[in-house]
């Protein structure tokens, strides 16, 4: 039986590289097409980097999931950082509080099927994404 869930730390640049490789492997195991693999890996890269840079490090929790007719991959990016004070602003194409392009959150949302953010000022940020096969 293959492993269906687990977690990976997001504490360094190298962890982001490892997280990307893990997501690539999981999507391959699930039989995603090359384009779908690439979309999920790219979304994961954006969210992992956010957790590292803005959230001061965090964890990626993954789960192979299924509903009645399809299988998919669910990823949770959790950090204990400062949270996002204005989520509408953060979810605007091109807006960044740092030195980015401001396309990470909105872009990741476009690349997956389900996207959810739970954030609280002073209470960290949790972003959940799902992509179905």
């Amino acid at each position: 039986m293959s492993v269906t869930n687990g977690e990976a730390p997001l504490r360094s640049e190298h962890d982001i590289v490892l997280a990307r490789q893990l997501v690539r492997k999981l999507t391959q195991e699930l039989g995603f097409s090359l384009v779908d693999q690439t979309k999920m890996v790219t979304a994961a890269s954006e969210l992992a980097r956010n957790a590292l840079i803005y959230g001061r490090g965090g964890t990626m929790i993954w789960e192979k999931t299924a509903d009645s007719e399809r299988r998919g991959l669910k990823l949770l990016f959790a950090d204990e950082g400062p949270g996002i004070p204005d989520l509408n602003l953060a979810m605007t194409d091109g807006w960044t509080s740092g030195h980015g392009l401001g396309m990470g959150l909105t872009g990741a949302k476009r690349l997956v099927n389900d996207f959810n953010i739970d954030t609280k000022v002073g209470g960290g940020t949790r972003v959940t994404i799902v992509r179905w096969k």
């Binding site: 990307r20 890269s45 476009r110």
Partner: protein, 118 residues
């Protein structure tokens, strides 16, 4: 390669490496008075907004130093994903491979030369 510089972006480049690359490239453009830069991303299996910014920074720096940039070798799955991510990489020309990238650079340089002559 002669007047052109070839930069290969490796699979998993960190922030620090990206900054080093920009430094080294600026130095090389000046030292060789290069008129064109080819950025080869054929080994990249994904391009996120971090790499996207790096590519447009390279293109911007090169422009200031008098060199045109062409991005070469983007894999189709990466191109499709990049569009959906929302990155348009303004001002960055692309070509299928290094050979075509060089042809494109020559055209650009000839066109620039023609402008100066008038």
């Amino acid at each position: 390669m002669g007047e052109f510089l070839l930069v290969t972006i490796q699979v998993d480049m960190h922030d620090q490496l990206a900054l080093r690359l920009q430094d080294d490239l600026s130095t090389a453009i000046q030292k060789n008075a290069s008129k064109g830069v080819l950025v080869d991303i054929s080994t990249l299996e994904m391009v996120d907004s971090f790499i996207g910014r790096m590519v447009s920074d390279i293109s911007g720096i090169s422009k200031i130093l008098g060199a045109d940039t062409v991005l070469v070798g983007m894999q189709p799955a990466v191109a499709i994903t990049l569009v959906e991510l929302g990155l348009s990489l303004p001002g960055v020309a692309t070509a299928l491979n290094v050979e075509r990238g060089m042809a494109l650079l020559r055209q650009k340089i000839d066109a620039d030369g023609a402008d100066v002559g008038h």
